[in-house]
Structure formats: structure tokens, C-alpha cells
């Protein structure tokens, strides 16, 4: 294609006029939505639409990178931090600086006006399109790589260093020093042995329900001496008062249906 000019197809026009208003709406949602999670969703929408626009604008590589890096990594990081901080961390409405809201709004509108004026006043050259400008006639990752690793190889190295530094910095920043010594299995066992004189049982507690009649969880077990073992019933049931007394007599009761005194006590 000759560098005569760039014809923007009708399909791209339709795509732009469908996506651009939605993008602006979603971006405004960032401004007006109350909860941070909804703002994050709005931003995800803006970024995916941006990727579509990149692909429409002869930048397929950047479109893919946009999806992978921004919506895939950055926004998920945002959501992780939101979950860490608490999803319902909403904005406080008290103004600490008086008149900050109106001043901020004014500055924002002023910026929009200035930018619009600059874009409106600027004389842009006739668009050429990437296919006309590139000697190989391609605007794909290969052409991009040729510039990236040719003219900008030093910047590329610096960016690599920056990424490593950022990763290490995030690790250092979020690292938390341990306040108490780590609990190991050995230390737990030592603690139990030390608490032995206070009436702590080392072994597992006896299971309840030797006399399984209705629901044996609430019937205490009998020890080898025929006495009831109250610890065998769950502590919750004991506190609620829902345990049943074990039937009288030795532990060799055969008939399980003839103990009417324990039938109904709740």
C-alpha cells in the first residue's frame, strides 16, 4: 500500500462508535460508583474495550498484552488487595480539606477543556497507517521486536531491572516480622506435658455413645469402672445441657429399648 492515506473502514467506524461511549460510561462509573469492587469492574471493562481498540488499530500485539497484563495481572492484583483490605471499605464522606470536592471537579473539567482544545486546534498530518510506513509492510510483533531490540535495547534492559526491583520491593514491603516463635509439633507436645498437673488429659478423649439408642453423641461413655465419663460428650452439648444420662447399671445392658427414663429429657 502506498503512503497515500489511510481509509478507515466502515466496520471500524461502527466499532468505535459502539465501544467509545460505553468506555466513557464505564470510566465515569469509576468516578461515581460507591464501592471499590464496582469501580474495579468498570475499569476491567474499560481495559478490555481498550484492547479491542488496539487490535482494530493495527496493534494486535499490544491488544494481547493489554488483556494479559492489565486485565489479567493488574486488575486481579487490585481485586486481591480489595479482598485483603475488605470489600466494603467505602469512602468517608467528611471533607478534611474544605472545598476540595468542587476544586477537584473544577480542575478536572478544566483539564478536559484544555485537552479538548489542544486536540481540536492541533493540525494532524494525514493518517498513513502502519502498512504504508513499514518497509516490510507488516505491523506485527516482528516489526515491533525490531524496534524494541534495536533502538530501545538499553531501555528494555532497564525495564527488566525495574521489574525485578519492583518484585523484590513488594516482597520487602509486605513482609511481616514474626512476633512469636513458630509453633512446631514438638513445642505443642511440650506445652501439653507441662500442663499435665492442671488436669489436662494427654490422650484423646473417650468417644461418647456406647449405648447407641437414638443419637449416641449425647450419651456419655462408661469407664472401665462403670462410672460415667462426662468428658466423652461434646463440650457444646454439655454447656447447652443436652446430654442424656447414661442408663443405670453395669455396662452390659443388652436390651437397648427398655430404658424409658432416658427417653425424653429435652
Amino acid at each position: 500500500m502506498t503512503p497515500a492515506g489511510l481509509e478507515i473502514s466502515g466496520g471500524e467506524t461502527v466499532l468505535f462508535w459502539v465501544i467509545a461511549p460505553l468506555m466513557v460510561l464505564a470510566a465515569l462509573g469509576l468516578l461515581f460508583v460507591k464501592r471499590a469492587v464496582h469501580a474495579a469492574m468498570c475499569l476491567v471493562f474499560v481495559m478490555v474495550s481498550m484492547a479491542i481498540l488496539y487490535i482494530a488499530q493495527e496493534a494486535p500485539f499490544l491488544g494481547v498484552v493489554q488483556v494479559v497484563v492489565y486485565t489479567g495481572a493488574v486488575m486481579m492484583l487490585f481485586l486481591f488487595v480489595l479482598m485483603l483490605v475488605g470489600v466494603d471499605a467505602s469512602d468517608s464522606l467528611t471533607e478534611t480539606i474544605r472545598g476540595q470536592r468542587w476544586t477537584g471537579l473544577l480542575i478536572g473539567i478544566g483539564l478536559a477543556v484544555i485537552l479538548g482544545g489542544v486536540v481540536g486546534q492541533a493540525a494532524f498530518p494525514p493518517a498513513r497507517g502502519l502498512e504504508g510506513g513499514d518497509p516490510d509492510g507488516v505491523a506485527n510483533p516482528q516489526a515491533l521486536a525490531r524496534v524494541l531490540f534495536g533502538d530501545y535495547v538499553l531501555a528494555m534492559e532497564a525495564v527488566g531491572v525495574l521489574l525485578v526491583t519492583a518484585a523484590v520491593g513488594a516482597l520487602v514491603l509486605t513482609h511481616r516480622r514474626r512476633l512469636t516463635p513458630k509453633q512446631t509439633q514438638e513445642s505443642v507436645a511440650d506445652k501439653r506435658i507441662k500442663a499435665l498437673p492442671d488436669g489436662v488429659v494427654l490422650t484423646p478423649l473417650p468417644p461418647p455413645g456406647v449405648y447407641a439408642r437414638s443419637n449416641a453423641m449425647d450419651t456419655p461413655a462408661l469407664g472401665p469402672d462403670g462410672e460415667q465419663v462426662p468428658q466423652s460428650v461434646s463440650r457444646v452439648l454439655r454447656i447447652r445441657g443436652q446430654e442424656r444420662p447414661a442408663p443405670e447399671g453395669p455396662a452390659v445392658v443388652v436390651s437397648t429399648s427398655s430404658t424409658p427414663e432416658t427417653e425424653r429429657d429435652a
Binding site: 467509545a20 466513557v24 471499590a36 469501580a39 493488574v74 469512602d91 483539564l111 502502519l130 519492583a166 509486605t174
Partner: protein, 99 residues
């Protein structure tokens, strides 16, 4: 359609992002505003690359993306640290340096 429409869209998105940074209190939402501004500049870069028929604009947009990723990592780590000590993610609460 004129290709400058893309530039106008980028300008609008940039202005919205800047207003978000100025108005919102939640540090995370403020950060999202910064991201929106970076994305808007990327759109302008890509549009100019197409306008001038030069891939360099796309390369610069790529660099912006990488730097933005690094910035997000460190910034969110700072927010998490602040939240751990202050139990709040509001930018107004971080005024310990005030005399």
C-alpha cells in the same frame, strides 16, 4: 470517521482519570484513576503510531505498560502496609507527617 476521534477519546478518558484521582478518597480507587490515565496515554500512543506509520509509538506504549505493572505492584504493597498499620485505606487518614 477521522482518526482524531481516537485522540479525543484518549483525552476524555485521561480527564476522567485525573478527576478520579482528585476526587476519590479510597486509595485503591485513586490508584485505578492513575491506571486509567496511563491507559488513555497508551491509546494516544497507538493512535499516533498509526497516524505516522511508525511502530515506535507502539513500543513506547509497551514500555508504559511494563512500567505501570511495576508501579502497581509497589503501590499496592504500600497500600497493604498502610492498611496494616492504620486499618484504613482512605488517603485522608495518612496525615501523620502533618505538623
Amino acid at each position: 470517521m477521522d482518526i482524531t476521534n481516537y485522540v479525543v477519546l484518549a483525552a476524555v478518558l485521561f480527564a476522567i482519570g485525573a478527576t478520579t484521582v482528585l476526587l476519590r478518597r479510597n486509595a485503591i480507587v485513586v490508584f485505578m484513576g492513575v491506571e486509567l490515565m496511563l491507559n488513555a496515554t497508551n491509546l494516544a500512543f497507538v493512535t499516533f503510531a498509526r497516524m505516522h506509520g511508525d511502530v515506535t509509538g507502539q513500543v513506547l506504549a509497551f514500555f508504559v505498560m511494563v512500567v505501570a505493572a511495576a508501579e502497581v505492584v509497589v503501590g499496592l504493597a504500600i497500600i497493604v502496609t498502610i492498611f496494616r498499620t492504620r486499618r484504613s485505606a482512605s488517603v485522608d487518614d495518612v496525615n501523620l507527617l502533618k505538623g
